[in-house]
């Protein structure tokens, strides 16, 4: 799939700049947008919206109208099953996009809940579509980004199927670490925003098993864990724990 670039003489003067405080550059580069696309996106985004801990960014079943760029904070996405239990489908950190769950339909398929006080910029999808009528490559590119995120998650889930608890947890930690370092945070020292139960739900384990696996990794001096604070002491041995399934892509 050859990637198209935007025309040099691109006129975006008609786009209302509604988010003066938003510099989306450092935010969106990791997902593969080029300068012009970031500019357009930044101009589309509304001012930061505050979401308190426990607050919702979007609900399952609600109409899909916007993508959200997380400016600060941490979110989980989850679906509520018939029996009331909730299944965590993903975690999303500062600098990532939310709302991708609705990419293939008209409705959000999951809830997005803030795990700490957070801020997000809304990017109205209608405007994105409007612009992509004049700049087809933008939407094309966007779909690619979205698919990539989904495929990445999908790949991880597939591999989890055949993994043991410890392997799953190692995979999870390394995935978090990789995403944090991409955004300029510490690779070896970070704070888990979610509970053991949420980690367990995401990985298909019970909270006790998660706790035990953490303890085991600590006993082996691979990580140090104090409640929610994680320190990776030996990343190469942690990678070995992931097993053969290896690549997170």
């Amino acid at each position: 799939m050859p990637s198209q670039t935007l025309p040099d003489d691109l006129d975006i003067s008609h786009i209302r700049s509604s988010c003066a405080t938003c510099s989306l550059r450092e935010l969106c580069l990791p997902v593969g947008l080029n300068e012009e696309e970031i500019q357009i996106l930044g101009n589309l985004a509304s001012h930061k919206r505050k979401i308190p801990r426990g607050g919702y960014l979007h609900h399952a079943g609600s109409k899909f109208q916007s993508l959200f760029a997380i400016r600060s904070g941490f979110f989980k996405t989850c679906i509520l099953e018939q029996d009331g239990r909730q299944q965590v489908t993903g975690f999303h950190m500062t600098g990532e996009l939310l709302g991708l769950d609705a990419i293939s339909g008209e409705m959000h398929t999951c809830d997005a809940v803030a795990l700490e006080d957070s801020e997000a910029c809304e990017i109205p999808f209608a405007k994105l579509e409007e612009i992509s009528r004049t700049i087809p490559s933008l939407m094309h590119h966007f779909h690619k980004i979205m698919s990539r995120e989904i495929v990445r998650d999908h790949g991880v889930m597939l591999l989890l199927g055949s993994m043991k608890a410890e392997e799953r947890l190692a995979t999870f930690l390394l995935n978090l670490s990789r995403r944090l370092v991409m955004r300029g945070y510490s690779e070896y020292n970070f704070n888990l925003r979610m509970t053991r139960e949420e980690i367990g739900s995401y990985l298909g384990l019970k909270l006790e098993t998660v706790s035990r696996a953490f303890s085991k990794l600590q006993d082996e001096n691979i990580i140090t864990i104090d409640n929610k604070q994680v320190q990776i002491n030996d990343i190469s041995r942690l990678k070995m724990k992931m097993g053969n399934s290896a690549c997170l892509s």
Copy 2:
């Protein structure tokens, strides 16, 4: 996401009709293409290509150049792990599209192997892109379809995480049944093209566990299974076996 329609005065006369024998209409309607799009796709597609049992439609790591419409037969997609074991990532039947695994990159991420003598039409992606430069909605639409397929699979995998063997198998059978009936085949009576081992790999179970779960469902008179021939005797009880996680979307 409002769905766009193709313009009425659409000129596709410049597109070489390369697949006179292909009527893709009944093939692609289920995935949501409209008449004109099917026409375009059909004209893009090359003549049917035969793939013998065990043959490859595409390889992991090979350059992504085409999508494939399965005209007859049955495929599995799988990835080869470092240790040589193979992980089945999906099953694909007559009327479905293959090659979607490469949607977010330049390379195929998995092998596609025929589980019986099959036929497929190749749809060169470059041509699809060329056309979508004049008809932006086509690529847009296509990306949506592809994402939907991926999201669907992703959803299933997520739910599998917390499921027991019997629930996984029920989910698997009902998924097959639903896809078969969509394409005009019997809902209650069908032939499994894959081995117990392949089912197990896909569901994260061992082949013995798959076999035992089949036997148990048969003992309970929910299905009748004779080697690869499956008959669903009581679909409502089979649905109950799926558990609360329910929806396959």
